[in-house]
């Protein structure tokens, strides 16, 4: 075994290994013994547990509260006066002058903009699912990832802890704009991840396009869209433009491009990505080009971390988009 083979083998080692037994009881006991575990916290926690139980029980009733924000939206065939309940299977429809606010169980809310048609599909504590047939919604969810889903004619938006605006026409042409956290959009096995401050085009046949940051240069965005949705010859030209115009801030786009270009082009895309945002330790060129999930996830974590730092600290500290570190 040579040095490189050893290096490659090390890079394949799992970063995480679950302990063979649950270590939590031991930790809890030690904290309790030492007095560090402040026992009075159990009181509000117990109350919170009861409250959560009641809320979950309520959410299980398969209906969500709806409030009219403007005009008189329809639930089924009934005009909503001020507020009402949206039950599983019900359609909520707004016209050009009405808007509504849906309480997504107890985990968030969805504002339904004018000219929108949306259906409640599942209302359970562990799955909250709407179908957006057409129109625009603004969703805001505060929950663990993958509890809230919005189906569109072109695929499904999966909440990873976030706020976003999703619009679609009845065919599935649409746009996703994430304003907090992260959203995954999935069509079959085809998926894109969109971070806050990023947008993504959606099309009926191809599903999610490649996300790009808000404010990305227009020629870069045009080239990305051409790469996503145009014919093969155009795609080849588009990819050259994408690589030429990409900036470190566009790493999240290139990470997606890497997985969608012809295998022969992956090396070029990887090299450009690595030049803009160097890969984290343990991610090798070979593994990334082979689309090994550990390498891709490792790279994504770094890109995501840098992106979040840049967004969160925008206007406060200048962040190096290659490293995520504050500039001196």
């Amino acid at each position: 075994m040579n040095e490189q083979e050893l290096h490659d083998a090390v890079s394949r080692l799992p970063k995480s290994i679950e302990p063979p037994r649950d270590l939590w009881p031991g930790i809890e006991a030690r904290l309790a013994r030492s007095g560090a575990w402040r026992r009075w916290y159990w009181v509000p926690l117990a109350l919170a547990a009861v409250l959560v139980f009641l809320l979950i029980a309520r959410a299980e009733r398969s209906a969500w509260d709806v409030t009219a924000l403007a005009g008189r939206p329809l639930i089924g065939t009934t005009r909503l006066a001020a507020s009402g309940r949206l039950r599983v299977g019900d359609w909520l429809q707004t016209d050009d002058s009405s808007r509504a606010l849906i309480a997504v169980g107890r985990i968030g809310q969805v504002e339904v903009r004018p000219d929108t048609r949306v259906q409640l599909v599942v209302a359970k504590a562990n799955e909250h699912r709407l179908a957006l047939a057409r129109g625009t919604i603004d969703a805001k969810v505060d929950a663990v990832p993958r509890l809230f889903f919005v189906e569109t004619p072109a695929g499904t938006a999966i909440d990873l802890g976030c706020a976003y605006t999703l619009e679609t026409d009845s065919l599935g042409n649409g746009l996703l704009y994430v304003t907090a956290g992260e959203v995954e959009f999935q069509t079959g096995s085809h998926a894109s991840r969109v971070l806050l401050g990023a947008l993504m085009q959606i099309r009926p046949t191809t599903g999610p396009g490649i996300p790009y940051v808000e404010g990305a240069p227009a020629p870069f965005v045009r080239a990305l869209i051409a790469f996503d949705f145009a014919q093969r010859g155009t795609r080849a030209r588009a990819i050259r433009t994408v690589l030429a115009l990409a900036r470190p801030q566009d790493a999240l786009s290139l990470w997606h491009v890497l997985q969608r270009v012809d295998p022969a082009l992956r090396g070029v895309v990887y090299d450009r990505l690595a030049a803009l945002v160097p890969p984290p330790p343990g991610v090798t060129r070979r593994a990334a080009i082979a689309l090994e999930s550990r390498a891709l996830e490792g790279y994504w974590t770094k890109i995501q971390r840098i992106h979040f730092r840049m967004m969160v600290l925008r206007g406060v500290r200048e962040i190096d988009p290659r490293t995520g570190l504050a500039k001196p």
Partner: protein
């Protein structure tokens, strides 16, 4: 959501702290297991890390990612423990007991990694620590020298030695 969990745990929310444990236990345990080369020690050190975390949590200011901060805390806990006790007597991860290393819960194709994990566990303590910190965890020699309490040159020499020993073991 992780930021929210950290904030809640900092405020004394034990449920949030338990969720932090759930999210990070695997990463911490993997680090402890490789640094100690001993399954039982690794379990103890993992518990030490989270007990220490509860005490230190309020000092986390968000200057770095929480996972990075916790990782650094874990390295310090393991290395401090070794410095304190100065012992390395047990080696649970013997060639006869590879399951101790890999457990039974990995998503990755671990059968490919068993030999390497075992070989790492069998390295001499100093070489193993430097190898784990440098080649697996991505620390630099300067940082390792500071953490382990050795000279930078020693760190480089230990790394060279570890890699040579590993190549030899894996070629057998």
């Amino acid at each position: 959501m992780s930021d929210d969990l950290v904030a809640r745990a900092q405020a004394g929310d034990q449920t949030a702290f338990r969720e932090l444990y759930r999210q990070h236990a695997g990463r911490v345990y993997a680090l402890c297991l490789r640094l100690t080369g001993d399954g039982r020690d690794a379990e103890e050190r993992t518990q030490d890390v989270f007990v220490r975390l509860w005490d230190k949590l309020r000092s986390f200011r968000g200057d770095s990612a929480f996972s990075s901060w916790l990782h650094r805390l874990a390295v310090n806990v393991v290395l401090n423990e070794r410095r304190t006790t100065g012992r390395r007597e047990r080696r649970v991860m013997s060639a006869e007991d590879p399951d101790t290393v890999v457990g039974a819960q990995h998503a990755a194709p671990l059968h490919l990694n068993i030999d390497l994990e075992r070989a790492i566990a069998e390295l001499p303590d100093g070489a193993r620590e430097v190898f784990v910190l440098y080649d697996i965890e991505g620390y630099g020699h300067g940082e390792i020298a500071q953490l382990v309490g050795i000279a930078e040159g020693t760190s480089k020499a230990q790394l060279f030695r570890a890699r040579r020993l590993l190549r030899e073991k894996l070629e057998r």
